[in-house]
C-alpha cells in the first residue's frame, strides 16, 4: 500500500482482486477455519439450548402463554445452514471430494466410519443430555433436574444422528470415488 494513493487506487485496494502474499493467505485461512468452527458450534449450541429451554418451559407451565421466538431465532439457524452450505460448495469446487481421504481408499472403511458414527452418537447423547439438564436447572432449579430422562432423550437424538451418519458417510464415499474416477479419466 502506498501513502499517496488516489481514490481509484484506494477502491482497487479495497475491492479489487489483489495479488495476496501466499503465506499471509495461508495463515488467514487457518485463522478463519478456527473462527468458523467456534462460531458454528457456538450458534448450534445456542440454538439447541433455546429449543430445550422452550420445551422445559412448556412442559413445566402448560397454562403459560409462551412465544417460541423468545427462546430461539430461526434466522440464527438459517444463517448457520447457509454458512455450512456455502462452505460445502466452496470445498466441493476446490476438489475436496475427489482428492479427500475418502477418494483414496478402494473399499469403504466400514469399521472406521462405524466408529465415527458411534462417537457422534455418544457426543450428541452427552451434549443434548447436558443441555437439557442446564435448561431444567435454569427454568426449574437444581432439585427438579431429571438426569436420567434427559440423557435418555439425548440418546434418542444421538442414536438418530448416528444412524443418519453412517449411510451419509457411505454415500459420500460413493460420490468421492465417482468424482475421483471422473477426474482421473480427464487426465488420460
Amino acid at each position: 500500500m502506498d501513502t499517496n494513493m488516489t481514490l481509484k487506487d484506494m477502491f482497487k485496494e479495497l475491492f479489487g482482486r489483489n495479488k495476496k502474499d501466499e503465506r499471509i493467505a495461508a495463515e488467514a485461512n487457518k485463522a478463519y477455519a478456527v473462527g468458523f468452527i467456534i462460531l458454528t458450534v457456538g450458534i448450534l449450541i445456542d440454538f439447541v439450548y433455546g429449543i430445550m429451554k422452550f420445551q422445559v418451559t412448556v412442559f413445566s407451565s402448560p397454562d403459560l402463554e409462551i412465544n417460541m421466538l423468545d427462546f430461539y431465532h430461526p434466522l440464527e439457524f438459517v444463517t448457520l445452514m447457509l454458512a455450512m452450505i456455502v462452505v460445502s460448495v466452496i470445498a466441493a469446487r476446490g476438489g475436496f471430494a475427489e482428492t479427500g481421504k475418502m477418494a483414496e481408499v478402494e473399499k469403504f472403511p466400514a469399521k472406521y466410519y462405524l466408529f465415527v458414527s458411534v462417537f457422534v452418537c455418544l457426543l450428541t447423547t452427552v451434549s443434548v443430555g447436558l443441555l437439557r439438564c442446564f435448561a431444567e436447572f435454569e427454568v426449574l432449579g437444581f432439585a427438579d433436574i431429571h438426569w436420567l430422562a434427559n440423557f435418555a432423550i439425548g440418546f434418542v437424538f444421538g442414536a438418530f444422528i448416528g444412524l443418519v451418519c453412517y449411510p451419509t458417510f457411505y454415500l459420500n464415499y460413493v460420490a468421492a470415488r465417482k468424482a475421483r474416477d471422473k477426474k482421473l479419466e480427464s487426465f488420460e
Binding site: 495479488k19 502474499d21 501466499e22 503465506r23 499471509i24
Partner: protein, 65 residues
C-alpha cells in the same frame, strides 16, 4: 533450517529483502521468513524468486544429502 542460498543470491543481485519481496509480490516478512527457514514457500513462489534472482530451483532450494 535456514536458507542461506536465497540470502546469498539476493545479496549477490544487490537486492534488499523489500526489493525481492516487491518483485515477487509478497511481503518483506515472507522473504525474511524464507531466509530464516520459518516458512516453506510454494513451488510457484520458489520459481518466481528463482526468475528474479536469475537462478535455478536447484541453486536455491535443493539441499544435498
Amino acid at each position: 533450517m535456514k536458507n542461506l542460498k536465497v540470502k546469498m543470491a539476493r545479496v549477490e543481485a544487490d537486492m534488499s529483502q523489500s526489493d525481492l519481496a516487491n518483485a515477487v509480490g509478497v511481503t518483506r516478512q515472507t522473504i525474511g521468513m524464507i531466509e530464516a527457514g520459518g516458512y516453506n514457500p510454494t513451488l510457484n513462489l520458489c520459481i518466481e524468486i528463482c526468475k528474479v534472482l536469475g537462478k535455478t530451483l536447484d541453486d536455491l532450494f535443493w539441499n544435498e544429502g
